[in-house]
């Protein structure tokens, strides 16, 4: 397990060096996206007003407050990613996103896109919104405000993490490996519990 400190935007080389199980922290720009953001982008065909190429995207519906023209953070946390799996291959292939941050992972087509284009899935600790909020230095912009709290958010972060590389660009999928290992252990566990 190696530890990395990166700065976004990420290069393909930044991402290709990461292996499942490594720990990543980073500084720089982070985009916040959610179910509705991606329905709006992909199903309703709206082009993002800002380039996502090279940047990480996090699955979030943040609590923010608008003071004048400026958005301020209240609480930013991360949601379960699998609901947004179907958008993820295009997010990587079409928009050049280099990292998707969320919890509980994505499926096979997303993993294939990560291999093909050089992207990773970074697992954040679910429930740790207090820490995430602290690591967000500024809400730089909110695009598509009418979709809030599922708009497109541009954050600036400092030492954001720890994030675990759960799906890498070499075809490894940590959640699948953990599931396969659990399945391997199950017959023995059933036997011990007397339910076999």
């Amino acid at each position: 397990m190696a530890e990395y400190h990166l700065t976004s935007p990420f290069s393909e080389q930044d991402i290709r060096q990461l292996r499942a199980g490594d720990i990543v922290r980073f500084d720089g720009r982070l985009f916040g996206i959610r179910d509705l953001t991606q329905i709006y982008m992909f199903d309703q065909h709206h082009e993002p007003p800002v380039s996502l190429a090279g940047y990480p995207c996090i699955h979030t519906a943040p609590s923010l407050r608008k003071a004048g023209d400026k958005w301020e953070k209240i609480c930013v946390g991360t949601t379960t990613s699998v609901r947004m799996d179907r958008f993820s291959p295009d997010l990587i292939a079409k928009y050049g996103v280099r990292a998707i941050i969320g919890k509980a992972g994505l499926y096979q087509k997303s993993l294939e896109a990560m291999q093909q284009y050089g992207a990773v899935y970074l697992a954040i600790v679910g429930g740790s919104a207090a820490l995430e909020t602290l690591q967000i230095e500024e809400v730089e912009a909110v695009y598509w405000e009418h979709l809030h709290p599922e708009a497109l958010y541009q954050f600036r972060v400092k030492n954001f993490g720890p994030l675990t590389v759960a799906m890498d660009s070499h075809g490894r999928h940590l959640y699948d490996e953990v599931r396969a290992e659990a399945a391997r252990r199950m017959p023995e566990i059933y036997k011990k519990l007397g339910v076999a």
Partner: protein
């Protein structure tokens, strides 16, 4: 009727919701520390380190631990030696819930099931969830729990038959937790309802997650079943956040009720690592004691 000022109940409801979201109970903190001490996988250990930093940040800055403000639930025990007004209690708890949401302010997670319209109040038809009970003393004892959706979404119930036996019940609990993987933000509390009716068994599972971590069922045979299930679940290797590790659950809690001779119901209510709850005991003289 007495001249008790029910504004006290409303204020307590507001404080309880905020306290539950920001201040993790000491038994949960201790259980997480014990889990960390047992954990050998480096990836899982880094998850715990982030968990402890999160708890510390929420303590220092008085912020929400998790952005999921959950659905509000109040378990209320009404003392019988004082003329408490049940209607007032219910409406004040509802008002306090709304005020917490709008005055803190935090996100309301409550929405219409069909229209998916969120009025940003955390309340609405059927919410908060209330469970009422009675005691022999004179206090109003309120336990508040905001229930997050990541864990609630992998919760399940099943009506087995007596012929399926306790085997089916145990296997169901184990399979539900292992199949949930990282989605319920493990390691949390696994609440199990065993017996009763289809509705009661689900309520028992929710009661079970509201016990302090590791407090055993007083029935020794049920307590043994809790330990067996804990060991089985932790042998799976699912680990913290489903990324692999030695600890998948902090504790299995089982609550039981007598059931029908033809029934064998089981329900599993998963609770995430931020196993949030807060308690207030209100006295007839207006004094309020806060705890967990």
């Amino acid at each position: 009727m007495s001249d008790f000022d029910y504004g006290i109940v409303e204020e307590a409801a507001k404080q309880l919701y905020i306290k539950a979201l920001c201040d993790l109970p000491p038994d949960v903190r201790e259980a997480l520390k014990r889990a960390y001490a047992r954990e050998t996988k480096p990836t899982a250990r880094s998850v715990y380190e982030a968990i402890f930093k999160t708890i510390e940040t929420a303590d220092q800055k008085h912020t929400l631990i998790c952005q999921d403000t959950g659905l509000p639930l109040y378990k209320v025990k009404i003392g019988s030696r004082y003329a408490w007004n049940g209607y007032e209690i219910k409406s004040r708890l509802t008002n306090g819930t709304r005020r917490a949401t709008q005055e803190f302010p935090f996100r309301s997670s409550s929405t219409h099931p069909l229209l998916r319209v969120n009025p940003q109040t955390s309340v609405g038809p059927g919410l908060p969830v209330f469970y009422w009970d009675f005691s022999e003393d004179d206090t109003l004892d309120i336990l508040m729990a905001p229930k997050g959706s990541g864990s609630e979404n992998v919760s399940k119930m099943q009506m087995f038959t007596p012929a399926d036996g306790v085997k089916a019940v145990k296997k169901f609990v184990l399979d539900t937790v292992v199949n949930g993987g990282g989605m319920p933000c493990p390691p949390g509390i696994i609440g199990v309802g065993f017996g009763g009716t289809a509705d009661l068994v689900a309520k028992l599972a929710k009661d079970a997650i509201l016990r302090p971590v590791g407090q055993r069922n007083p029935d020794p045979e049920i307590a043994t079943m809790e330990v067996e299930l804990e060991e089985a679940i932790n042998s799976s290797g699912v680990g913290a956040m489903g990324l692999g590790g030695d600890v998948t659950t902090l504790a299995v809690h089982i609550e039981t009720a007598y059931t029908h001779i033809t029934q064998n119901p089981v329900a599993v209510n998963c609770q995430c690592w931020p196993a949030r709850r807060a308690r207030a005991v209100i006295h007839p003289d207006g004094a309020v004691e806060y705890g967990y």
